[in-house]
């Protein structure tokens, strides 16, 4: 199977490149975070309202914050070498456990949002390309520009106002009905209801991007010679679009989608805060506010890992979509 071979080669290269990348990200992030004023002890002392210099020194020495920077970095890297992300002084639990609690929530949110964005974006983009320059295209262009420009937190708030407050159709926040003892399909449906609004607010921006991208890409492919060949075979316009134009047009879209996974994590911080969604984004936000750098470093490391995995996935999809890539 030449296709599998191609994919395997792509994967091995990606893995080898990932190790130095991750190391660089950890070290860079570590020093960047040191630039922020204050540390976990400052925040905890501030929240407690009363703190003595001795008490703070004791906190610092317990968390290892009084060591020289390079020693702290050494400790962190040593932990990493033992597959440990360290211990969060603020939450009083290992960072890995903390992240493991929050990761599924964010991953589902992102996956659902990305799926909505790509599906809707490609469908709308195909529609726009088919009617390029005519009324449906103009109208959709206006909408896509609108959703592209409106910040997601505002869309989130407006969706809450409309669907939760006015219509009362959907819950305004959280990830599931509290205290319900649902299992199986009803539990899934319950979760899905809570998912609709956050995923939509996260997705709309990307829907706009993919719609415009699909439109441009399809219009470009449409003028290529092989499309004329396809028409000359007697295929229907739908057949030509689905079998010949779309597949070629999808190549740039998968590239963008891969790059957007990192961006979506950033967007998730905002959306998760608006919808009090228990995810990684909100954990990151809380960690920043609490100067809990061990947690933050762990999240950043994981996010970079996620982006690397996403890129590898995109490479694989590319190798599958475009046979010319493996040949290079």
């Amino acid at each position: 199977m030449p296709a599998l071979l191609r994919i395997g080669r792509t994967l091995r290269r990606t893995l080898l490149q990932a190790i130095p990348t991750l190391l660089g990200i950890v070290i860079l992030n570590f020093f960047l975070l040191q630039l922020a004023p204050g540390d976990a002890a400052d925040v905890m002392a501030g929240e407690a309202g009363s703190a003595t210099a001795e008490g703070m020194a004791a906190l610092r020495s317990r968390f290892g914050l009084d060591n020289p920077l390079l020693v702290q970095l050494g400790h962190y890297l040593n932990n990493l070498a033992h597959f440990s992300l360290g211990f969060s002084p603020r939450y009083g639990m290992p960072v890995a456990d903390l992240i493991a609690q929050r990761l599924p929530g964010t991953l589902t949110l992102m996956a659902v949002a990305l799926a909505i964005a790509i599906l809707l974006g490609v469908i709308l983009g195909s529609f726009m390309a088919t009617f390029a320059g005519r009324i449906p295209d103009r109208l959709l262009s206006i909408f896509s520009l609108l959703f592209y420009s409106i910040p997601s937190f505002w869309i989130g708030l407006m969706l809450i106002v409309f669907f939760s407050v006015k219509l009362g159709w959907l819950p305004s926040g959280g990830a599931g009905t509290i205290g319900s003892r649902l299992t199986g399909l009803p539990a899934l449906l319950d979760k899905a209801r809570y998912m609709v609004l956050p995923a939509t607010s996260l997705a709309l921006f990307y829907v706009a991007i993919y719609a415009r991208l699909t439109r441009a890409s399809m219009l470009e492919v449409k003028n290529q010679d092989f499309v004329r060949t396809a028409y000359a075979k007697g295929l229907t316009p739908f057949g030509v679009t689905a079998r010949h134009i779309l597949r070629n047009a999808l190549i740039p879209i998968t590239t963008m989608a891969g790059m957007h996974i990192g961006g979506m994590l950033g967007g998730a911080v905002v959306v998760e805060t608006v919808y009090s969604w228990p995810g990684l984004g909100r954990l990151a936000f809380e960690a920043v506010m609490g100067r809990d750098f061990t947690v933050l470093l762990g999240i950043l490391l994981l996010s970079s890992l996620l982006v690397i995995i996403a890129n590898a996935a995109v490479d694989i999809i590319h190798a599958w979509l475009d046979p010319r890539i493996g040949a290079r």
Binding site: Q224, D225, F226, R228, T229, A230, Y231, A232, K233, G234, L235, T236, G239, R243, H244, R247, N248, L321, D322, P323, R324, A327
Partner: protein
């Protein structure tokens, strides 16, 4: 032989131009008709019009394209789709870009069979392998799973031919099928086309600007200039006794037709000016470039006259030029 396709007074109009005007020709079953002319003479647009594949901006305000009792210029999309690839097939100039880069050639051949002959996946694949064999592609069982980028230009053009002849069409339109290929491959591809034409009893419209191709493979030749037919003849007549000044110019400008001609013997003759000079002119479109032009040429577009059996020419002064020796007629 029975007439297969009849084009009557075909005009193709764009918002700002009429690249093809009152063009008429006819093809008999199993015949090869060559349409010759330089770039911009409207030959490719004519080919696209036969398939109803003209760009959206183009219109056919008058004229008929009669094929099997139907006027293709007015046929609905559904009926036209039924003809495309099944009764009329087309191959294009650029084999490098005419195939979908992300689909195996086998699937691209199978596609046309699935659409028109309703073959299943398995049967269509088997037929695709047979067709690859038919167009002389070595190891077709292996090649069927190749992507276009794995094939050379000549091979790709063979694949295009396989797609075109898959449903045994009555008419094959070949729009400069060998222009983008190596000279050594050109003859192979044209020989293949000719063999298939005889085997499948299909008529071929061969669009080319290569007079060498015309001499060897055509049964009948139409010379186009600025969207009009200026001369029509059998190849032998055309090469031995070209009547229209434009045809004479074309022949004089072809290196391959002059035996033992070498560039050191002197420059090739050229036709002065360019086809663009025909736009906005009244009278004969070739007048600005014609060394035989007289003042009366500016009045009316010359009508086609019949100077001899099986011949047509759109120049009223042909008989008088005929007396002038070939080389002298073209010196200027």
């Amino acid at each position: 032989m029975a007439s297969l396709l009849q084009v009557d007074n075909l005009t193709i109009r764009f918002p700002r131009a009429e690249p093809v005007r009152n063009l008429s020709f006819e093809i008999a079953e199993g015949e090869t008709l060559a349409i010759v002319g330089e770039s911009g003479s409207g030959k490719s647009l004519t080919a696209l019009a036969l398939m109803q594949l003209l760009p959206r901006a183009a219109q056919i305000p008058n004229g008929r394209i009669v094929f099997g009792g139907r006027d293709l210029a007015r046929l609905g999309q559904r009926e036209m789709r039924h003809l495309r690839g099944r009764e009329i097939a087309m191959i294009f100039q650029e084999p490098m870009t005419s195939l979908n880069p992300v689909m195996t050639i086998g699937r691209q051949i199978a596609e046309v069979l699935k659409v028109h002959e309703k073959l299943s996946g398995r049967a269509a694949r088997d037929r695709a392998i047979e067709l690859l064999k038919l167009v002389r592609i070595p190891a077709p069982e292996k090649r069927v799973d190749d992507y276009p980028h794995q094939l050379s230009g000549g091979m790709r053009q063979r694949v295009m031919i396989a797609i075109a002849v898959a449903c045994k069409p009555k008419l094959l339109i070949a729009d400069e099928p060998t222009t983008a290929l190596d000279v050594t491959i050109q003859a192979q591809v044209l020989d293949l086309l000719d063999t298939l034409r005889r085997e499948l009893q299909m008529a071929v419209v061969l669009i080319t600007h290569d007079l060498g191709v015309v001499a060897q493979w055509a049964d009948k030749v139409v010379v186009m200039y600025a969207g009009r037919k200026v001369e029509q003849a059998l190849p032998d007549d055309l090469f031995n006794d070209p009547l229209h000044p434009y045809t004479r110019g074309l022949l004089a400008a072809s290196p391959r037709l002059k035996h033992d001609f070498h560039y050191r013997d002197g420059a090739l003759t050229e036709i002065p000016g360019s086809i663009v000079s025909a736009t906005g002119e009244t009278g004969c479109p070739f007048r600005p470039r014609c060394n035989q032009a007289r003042s009366s040429c500016g009045h009316n577009v010359p009508q086609l006259i019949v100077p001899a059996a099986d011949r047509l020419v759109a120049c009223p002064f042909t008989t008088s030029i005929k007396a002038v020796p070939h080389a002298a007629a073209l010196s200027h």
